[in-house]
Amino acid sequence: MALNRKIAYINLSTGEIETKPIPLEVRKKFIGGRGLDMYLLYNHTEPGIDALGPDNVAIVSAGLLSATLSSASARTHMAAKSPLTGAVGSTNMGGFFAPEMTWAGFHHLVVKGKAEEPVYIWVNDGNIEIRDGSHLWGLSTRDTQNALKQELGEEVQVLCIGPAGENLVRYANVMNGMKNAGGRSGLGAVLGSKNVKAIAARGTMDVEIRYPDEALEYDYEVMQHISGTKFAQIMGKYGTMFIQSVTNSTGLVRTQNFQHNQLLDAEPIECEHIEEYSFGTVGCFGCVIHCRHRYIVDGIYDEGPEYTAQGAFGWEVGCNNFETVLMGNHLVNHYGVDILEIGSMMAWAMELYEKGIITDKDTGGLKLEWGNDEAVLELIRQISFREGIGDILAEGPLRAAAKIGKDSLKYNIHVKGMSNLHSDERPSPALALGIATGTRGSDHLRSRPAIDLYHLPVFLLEKVYNNPVEYKGKYTSDYRDYEGKPWQVLWQEMMYMAIDLVGVCKYHCVFLSPNLMNFDHISKFLHYNTGLEMSPRDVWEVAERCYNIERLFNIREGFGRKDDTLVDRYFDEPTTRGLDIVRGRTIDREKFKGMIDEYYELHGWDENGVPTPETLERLGLDEEPSHML
C-alpha cells in the first residue's frame, strides 16, 4: 500500500545508504510530498549553510497518492535550500518519475554530502546504489536520459540535470522526460554541486489500494467531470498557451521587463500557431487533460511550449516570432535551465542595455535589443554555459545586480531574489499579494488566486473560498479591489500545498478553474486509496502546518516582513496599455500594507510575519525541529 513506501538517506560523502519506514504519526501530520519534504528540510539542515555546499540536502519525493487510483498523481517534488534566494527551495514537475520511484519502494530520498566524482543514483525495487556517472557529465538532459535508458532499460525513468546544473547556474532546473522540468529555486545547481548527474528509478512493487472498487469509481466520476469542463477541453488543445489570449488582450503580461503590460501585434505568438508545428498532444502519468504538444521546429523534436515560453521568448524580450518561442523552449529543456528565471533575466539585461547601464563591451558585442531573436537564443546558451555576460546573469537577480552595479537592481522584477512569472500584477492586488508573500520567492504556483481574474459572482466566490474554513470578511468580484484578497491568497496557499502533499497536478484543482478538485476531493481520494481517514478540515490543517514549516525555515534564514514586498516599480509606474479597466494602474502602498497586515493576522503570525507561539502550538510545531525522521 502507499503508506508502506519508505524514505532513504543517501550520504554521498561516505557512501552510506539508510532506509526507514515512514511512521503513521508522521503521515498524519505531514502526509507526504512537498509537506514532508519541508519537514525534512527543516530538520536536516543547519541555519546559514551554503546552498551549494555539502551541508545542503537535496530531497526528492513522490506524493502520497502517487501511482494510486487517483488520476494525474504524477508530480515529483524536490526541496533544498535554494542557491538562488537562500530561502526555501521547492520545485515540482510532472512526467513519470514519481510513480516509478513509488513502484521502486520509495516516497522520499534525502541526498546529503558531496560525491568526489560525478555519480548517478540508481533506485530499483527496494535497492539503492550510488554509481559512477562520469560518462554522463557534460551531456544534455535528453542525452543523459537516453544514455541511462540504454544502460538500465527502456522502462527506467530518469530525473537529471543538464549543463546548466553542472555549471552551477543558480536557476538550473531538474528534468524528467522531454519537458517536465522542476525549474524554480535552482535545485539543478544543488544536484550539480553534489556531483549528482541523475537519479534513475525502476520499480515493480505494486501499490495496494485500500478500497479498489470505490477508488476506481470515484476517480472515474471526478475525471469525467474534469474532462468535460471548458477548461480541460481548451487545455487539451492548446495547453497553457491559451491563457495568453486572455492575459495579453487584457493587459496582464509583463512586457519588455515591466515597461509595458501588453505586447502589441502579438498575433504571431498566439496559441493557434502551434497547429502548424504539432503532431499531437501528450500527457503525464494518468492524466486526462494532455496539455503539451509534441512539435518539430528546424528538424528538432520537443514538447510544449507553455505560457511561460511565450512570455520568456515573446513579450518579455519583445519578440513576436513563434519559432523563437519553440526554439527557446527547446534550448532551456536541452541545457536544463529554468525558463521563467532565464526569460526574466534576459529581459532585465535588455532594459539595462537600452538604458546604457550595460554596453556592447559588457555583452561581447551581443546586441541585446528588444525583438532580437538571435540574441535571445544565443544568450540562453551563454547563460547555461556561463560564457561572457551569461556568467553574470547565471547568478540570478541579486548577485548579478551586485556585480553590474550602478542602479541596475531597481530595474529587476523579483521577490526575495527570485524573478516573477512573465505577468503584470499591477491591476490585480490579489495576485500582487500572492507573489510578495510566496515562501520560495515571486511565485504564481504557491498562492495565486487566478480565478480572481474571472469576475466571478460573490456567491460563487463564497462557495469556493468558504470551504472547509469559513472567511468572516467580504469578497468582491472586481479583481482590482483589495477587499477579501488576503483570504483568497491564504486559501490558495492551502489548496496548492494540499495538492502537492498528494502529488496531483495543479491543473486538476482550483487554480485556473473554480470547478475542479478541492479539499473534499483530496479527503476522499486519500480514504479510498490509502485508508487514511482525514476530513477536508484535517487536510487543510496539514497544509497549514506544512506551510508554516516553510515560513519557519525562511525566518531561520533571516527572511521576514521586509522581504514580503514588491519592487518599487509596482507602486510607482502605472500600466501603459491594455483594456481601459487595467490602464494606468499601480499597487497602492497603503492598501498593500493593509493586505499584508490582514494576511499575517489570518495566518496567526505577528506583525513581522513570525508565527506566534499559539499558532505553533495549535499546529503542533512548537517543538520543531523534532527529528522524527
Partner: protein, 70 residues
C-alpha cells in the same frame, strides 16, 4: 461502477454555455455565431478575434489590434 453520463440539470445548464464567450472588457457572456472569426460585444462594443477549440466551443483569440492602437 460509476454512473455513465446521465444528464443532470446542472450539466444541461453547462451545455447551454458551450459556444459562449465572455467579453474580457465587460465580462458579459454572449454566444458567438457558428464559425465566426470576429465578434463585437453587444454590451460594450469591444471587438474580438475568435477561434474555435471545436465546432461548438469558441474562444477569444485576441483583440482587433488595428482598432486599439494608442
Amino acid at each position: 461502477m460509476a454512473k455513465k453520463t446521465a444528464k443532470t440539470k446542472g450539466s444541461e445548464k453547462a451545455d447551454s454555455r458551450i459556444g459562449q464567450v465572455r467579453c474580457l472588457n465587460c465580462f458579459e457572456r454572449y454566444r458567438v455565431p457558428p464559425k465566426a472569426e470576429k465578434f463585437t460585444c453587444p454590451s460594450c462594443g469591444w471587438e474580438w478575434r475568435v477561434s474555435w477549440v471545436n465546432p461548438k466551443l469558441a474562444k477569444i483569440r485576441g483583440p482587433m489590434w488595428d482598432r486599439i492602437r494608442f
